[in-house]
Amino acid sequence: MNKSEAFELRSQLDRRNKEIEIIETVASQINKTLDLDAIAKTMLISMDNYFDFKHSMILLLDQSEGVLKVIATHGYENDGIGAEVAIGVGVIGVVAKKKKLMRMANIGSQRRYMESIKRQIESNDKVESDKDINLPGLPNTESQVAIPMLVEDELIGVFAVESDQINIFDKSDEMIIRILANQTASALQNAKLYNLEQQRLKELDKAHAELAELNSNLEKKVSDRTEELVQLSTKLAKYFSPQVYDSIFSGKLDVKIQTKRKSLTVFFCDLQGFTQLTERLEPEILTELLTEYLTEMSKIAIKWGGTIDKFIGDAILVFFGDPETKGKKEDALACVSMALEMLEKLEELRGTWLEKGFTKSLKARMGIHSGFCTVGNFGSEDRLDYTVIGNGVNLASRLEGSADPNKILISEDTYLLVKDEVKCLKNKEISVKGLSYPIQSYEVSGFSSNSSLYSSKLMKSIPGLSLQFDPDEIEDNERAMKLISEVLSRLV
């Protein structure tokens, strides 16, 4: 070996060592990050800085679309990120298809050769072949090294270096590019796996959040629906007597056609002269009057535990003893108490109506009977009515019809239940359709003074006189007596 040969070998060895050093540096740089773009970009810039490869790009395989997509480029006017290369097209596409590297030295002249053949074929066969394909890269590329990036023999992308000069890359360049491409492949694969895992975590989080939202939406929907139901049932409540409403909504009373015989006290009431009044009054005023009357009467019925069966115009049907009963006697007494309070209330209402200008005074007639009736849901499957029927009801109605204005007429059956507490006067005998014998009736005049229900309070109102008397509230008896005496003296 002569001197110059030794020198040549020495410099080759130096160059190899330098290359290995650079490759190690680049490899350690790209392994520092898990960011795909950063890895790709770092690699391409390093190739230019250390090895003078001016134009390079990295493409990754898009599994779902079956194409290669440019993820990083270096040394081009346009970065061309996202440009696509079909598998099997061009140097890069063929490298991807065959999973083998390719080094081209004179692409330009080969293309021109191919183009001339193409023109020949086209003019001979009169066939139109495909248009020229647009590929990312230099417009006048001559030399190119394209290397498949493989992980466990699976293609993940292509690494390409090119130049517009003819025959620029030799075997040793090819080797360096291959080593760097392999390094890039494993770094990219690591990053890809990491990113995939991160993405899965994110998706999992998202799914979690969606589920949570769905749950809270569901909760909201349920609470909205519940709210709607509450509102609806509140509205419905007004169409039912509170006892019936409670029974239905608590589930004690099934909403189906079902009736039973039960001992009840039935109350009927209507307003004498109301029908004539309807002909004279404006509907709005009539409505207001009727609403006020029925509202006040209902309050009293509810207060005494009565079940308001129905309103028929101005008439009211209330019964005691279903769905809840306190006992036959107690039910009857409650009913009579209710009737007495209603009369009192009516007296008060008449006062206010008079002030409003209803000169014709409205008087109520009331009838009460205690006895067996059939109670429950009547009607069709679609429209049920919780009501009471039977001779007892007819009798109460007849009693009401026979009562004098502002009087309460009760049957003997009721009388027997309440006579200890209620003062009654024997009244006429009443005959009822369907009953072969006449019914003895009694007129209620008030509570017995020994009754716990007896009240010394007095509240009366007649045209020209309103009286509210409560002895417990009077502090100065003398003054009260003086006031009444004055009223008496003026009346005479």
């Binding site: 099997g88 097209v89 596409g93 063929v94 490298v95 081209m104 030295a105 191919m114 193409k118 025959n167």
Partner: protein, 129 residues
Amino acid sequence: MIEDQHLPALEGMFPSWITTSSNGGEPNTTVISQIWFVSETEVALSFQFFNKTKKNISQNPYAFATIVNPASFDMYNLELEYNRTENDGDLFDEMDMKLEAIASMSGMSGIFELKGADIYNVLSINKIN
């Protein structure tokens, strides 16, 4: 036989000439894009179409080629003898890939197909002075 100095002439940078002869002794010279280096004693020609060269070789296996080194413009004459045709393997793949790459760029995928790599023994190589 083939040495480092000859290799640049086998890269396809400059076209090469190949001359064959029919059984009756009628010569035919044609220009081809590349003669491929296979080993020190072998080169390859791409077989894409059934042409005159192919026909002549089937009758008379001897051929004569001229290659050019694009860096030095040195020219070499080679005496060749047809040996075999390969339809697979690394050499075939390399030739096939390059053909496909260029063809697909021009929208001619599938029209150009490498039928085989025709391997020739190199009998002699001489620089033309």
